[in-house]
């Protein structure tokens, strides 16, 4: 009988405590090294990195200042709500006075641990998250009182089952066809349910006032975020990796402070733009990345190669749900009543999303449109279609995207990889060949 198996041991095998501790400390040490190395490499590429970036370097450390802050706030009675995917309504978490943190994992080493229970065909993001949980590595996952897990793909569907061994998991089921009128109705129900759960956990009612404050707070963050993205449209004043780091820290940083720091960074970058002080040569090939989410720190592999290779490329824009999509869409409220605000929040998270988990008779055209628009706006020279093995939704959309990019005469390179460091050498060769081709095209 299924009920005989105790909760907590349904999936994850029992491991000796000393084995867990040993693994955790070794992976943690390796991870800290990787983070430091990444930052050092970013500093090496961008010699006169702005001072404000130091703040983001500090926040990017999983085991540093931000972990301590969250721990302190949690001890003071605040709740922490983790979320695994962009579909989770951050505004509601903020309105209830809880701390939102993203819990997706970008550790390569823990993916190998996840292999013990997950088949290798499964996307490494999921395997890595499971592995991180096995050794209690991720501080944000450990600190979460509950985790919102939108069931966007098959991996996440089972991930929530495995994680529910340890944590309170709240499911959200995004509809697969978003232009359907009843899809939005169903999603609004989901939002209502999540709202109820958040209110119950935190003990704070989501009222008109605190929701309005939360929405306005996020709108300010969006404003800062868009300001930074806007600066990437012209000559490169910031390297892609630095911008990606700024974007990604918003997933776990205190959003008010993040907004302030991002605005400070933008002020500095605007000054540099006036003085024509660029992060690299202005005619460096401009690359866009689309595909599977790239999560700090280990997934910095590909951006590192692109921006350090010879010839150099610069990431000007991406279509990643851990990148330029995080804060781009604002919640647009017409009438500031609680119902209208909730509708606005629901629409922002469902309708504005360009996740490949959607389908429709027109194809997932919102994603295609986003990519086409970005290519024109950011004057992209070439697109790298980044897929990690197992992320089949992104992999399957490649054929369609390629056909459209071919028509636009934009070279696209399909880069498939794994959560492993072993393919860095051959990946460098492949990317360098692509960038060389882009550079040749620019010269013509």
């Amino acid at each position: 009988m299924a009920s005989e198996i105790e909760k907590g041991t349904r999936y994850i095998p029992e491991m000796a405590q000393n084995e867990i501790d040993e693994l955790r400390s070794s992976i943690k040490a390796a991870s800290i090294k990787v983070m430091e190395e990444n930052i050092a490499r970013m500093k090496k590429t961008w010699k006169n990195r702005p001072k404000t970036m130091e703040y983001f370097d500090e926040i990017s450390n999983f085991f540093g200042r931000r972990e301590k802050e969250i721990r302190e706030q949690k001890e003071a009675g605040k709740k922490v709500i983790g979320y695994s995917c962009m579909f989770a309504p951050i505004e509601l978490i903020l309105a209830a006075g809880a701390i939102p943190v993203r819990v997706g994992s970008g550790w390569y080493d823990t993916a190998k641990l996840g292999d013990r229970i997950m088949p290798v065909e499964v996307c490494p993001v999921i395997r890595s998250t499971v592995g991180a949980k096995m050794v209690s590595l991720s501080p944000y996952l450990e600190l979460s009182d509950a985790i919102i897990n939108p069931l966007t793909c098959d991996g996440r569907t089972k991930l929530s089952e495995i994680l529910s061994d340890y944590k309170t998991i709240w499911y959200m089921t995004p509809p697969r066809v978003k232009d359907d009128p009843h899809a939005l109705t169903a999603w609004k129900e989901e939002i209502q349910v999540i709202k109820g759960k958040i209110e119950k956990l935190t003990g704070n009612k989501i009222t008109r006032k605190n929701l309005k404050d939360a929405i306005e707070l996020m709108q300010k963050a969006t404003k800062a975020f868009r300001r930074l993205q806007g600066l990437r449209k012209g000559a490169p004043v910031i390297t892609g990796r630095d911008a990606m780091l700024v974007n990604q820290t918003s997933l776990w940083d205190d959003i008010e402070r993040w907004t302030q720091k991002t605005n400070e960074l933008c002020d500095e970058l605007e000054k540099r733009l006036e003085q024509k002080e660029y992060a690299c040569y202005p005619d460096t090939p401009r690359v866009m990345i689309t595909g599977t989410p790239m999560i700090w720190p280990d997934s910095w592999k590909v951006p590192n190669i692109i921006e350090e290779s010879n010839p150099q490329g610069v990431l000007v824009v991406d279509e990643l749900c851990t990148g330029d999509r995080i804060l781009y869409d604002p919640v647009g409220v017409d009438e500031w009543t609680i119902k209208d605000m909730l509708d606005a929040v629901s629409e922002r998270y469902l309708m504005a999303s360009t996740c490949p988990c959607f389908t429709s008779e027109h194809g997932n055209e919102d994603r295609v449109n986003w990519i086409m628009d970005r290519i024109k706006e950011y004057k992209v020279d070439g697109v790298i279609y980044y897929v990690i093995r197992g992320c089949i939704l992104y992999a399957m959309e490649y054929a369609r995207i390629k056909r459209i990019l071919d028509r636009m005469n934009i070279p696209v390179y399909y880069l498939d990889t794994e959560y492993t460091r072993q393919d860095v050498g051959q990946m460098k060769t492949r990317i360098e060949a692509f960038l060389e081709m882009l550079e040749a095209r620019i010269d013509i």
Partner: protein
């Protein structure tokens, strides 16, 4: 009895108007036209003032009309066309009600009905023949529709302003609007053409005398009221009569006395059907944004000559969308006062719908730069921009 009702109405309306005026000024000062919707409110107010300029300027150089007390006479534009008297003046397809005092222009529905009945020949009042008058009214309708389209509904129409003020009042009370289902909206949209057809046919039937010499209704009192079938059900007529009566611009006692039977069952200035419909529309548009616009036959007429067939290409003001910039976030659909779905659904280019009142709320609220555009004769004059920037 009648006097008490009139007195109560007068006071209520006067107080209401003063409060609404203060509210409008406050809202406007706060936003200072930084927002398009504030600018629209301002233009709507100015338009109402222009349409009823006679109330402001007063009976300058004109004799007072004894029946209506101290009512200033209308300052109608275009009373003399090509040397021949045209006493009703030029028409604009907006609710510049004929029955109200001090107007500068006339509602086109009134003119169309009026000129089709009772006779097409010249008279002591009109030196133009009925056919000529109809041609002028109809020609103006088509030209103005092509040039302005339903921009008139969103920015000029006094009844639109009335509904927008109701919406603002509801917002101030923090009540959420009701959304009508797509089916109900579609029903309203189609029934406005039924209304147009019905009142025109009715006008023709009642105007048989002019065309075929058959007199269906004798020129009795009742006949006088029924010549203009739509005006007897229109919610705008009683609104203006009551407001002007309440403000003392019109002798309400006189207006109410122009009736047949008890409590204005049928009447020149007010009918019971008028008042009931006004009540229903007021209550309805308090909860549903721009409810009347969805069924308005006048809007339907404008739409007919600006959104369909060859007129679609000719019309000057257009709403366009760049499909690539759209993420289908749905904001345009949610913020639209008459709940137009075309802007959201259509795949780019011209997205102007027949129900669209061109208030440009969607363009104002669209968070994607350059996605939605207002084009006048092909030239973009207003684009959606990153509205987050405006906060500071």
């Amino acid at each position: 009895m009648l006097e008490i009702i009139a007195e109560t109405l007068r006071t209520t309306i006067a107080v209401g108007l003063i409060l609404a005026g203060i509210l409008t000024i406050l809202i406007w000062v706060r936003n200072l036209t930084k927002k398009l919707s504030a600018l629209r409110l301002f233009i709507q107010t100015v338009s109402v003032a222009v349409i009823f300029l006679g109330l402001i300027i007063g009976p300058f150089g004109l004799a007072e009309w004894a029946y209506l007390g101290s009512a200033p006479k209308d300052i109608v534009i275009g009373t003399n066309i090509l040397g021949s008297p045209y006493p009703d003046g030029l028409s604009v397809p907006t609710f510049a009600c004929y029955y109200a005092s001090g107007r500068t222009t006339t509602c086109v529905i009134w003119q169309l009905q009026s000129y089709i009945f009772p006779d097409w020949s010249t008279s002591s009042v009109y030196l133009t023949t009925g056919l000529e008058r109809l041609a002028i009214a109809f020609g103006l309708l088509v030209i103005i529709s092509i040039v302005f389209g339903r921009f008139l509904c969103g920015w000029i129409c006094p009844f639109g302003l009335y509904m927008d003020l109701l919406t603002r009042l509801r917002n101030a009370l923090k009540i959420r609007h009701w959304t009508l289902s797509e089916r109900v909206n579609e029903g309203l949209r189609q029934s406005r053409y039924l209304i147009i057809a019905a009142f025109l046919i009715l006008s023709v039937i009642l105007g048989m005398r002019a065309i075929a010499g058959v007199e269906l209704i004798s020129e009795s009192e009742l006949g006088r009221y029924l010549e203009l079938p739509f005006c007897q059900v229109c919610p705008v007529k009683p609104l203006f009569v009551l407001v002007e009566g309440g403000l003392g611009f019109m002798n309400l006692d006189y207006a109410l006395s122009q009736t047949m039977g008890d409590f204005a069952l049928t009447g020149w200035y007010l009918t019971s059907i008028n008042i009931i419909i006004l009540g229903v529309v007021t209550a309805g548009s308090f909860m549903v944004r721009r409810l009347w616009c969805r069924i308005c036959p006048l809007g339907g007429l404008i739409a007919l000559f600006s959104r369909f067939g060859p007129f679609k290409r000719l019309s000057l003001i257009k709403l366009t969308k760049v499909e690539e910039k759209c993420t289908k976030c749905g904001i345009c659909k949610r913020v639209c006062p008459p709940q137009v779905t075309e802007v959201y659904e259509k795949k780019g280019d011209d997205v102007t719908a027949s129900d669209c009142i061109l208030c440009f709320r969607c363009v104002e609220m669209c968070p994607y730069e350059g996605c939605l555009k207002v084009e006048v004769a092909g030239k973009p004059i207003y684009k959606s921009k990153n509205w987050l920037k405006e906060e500071e």
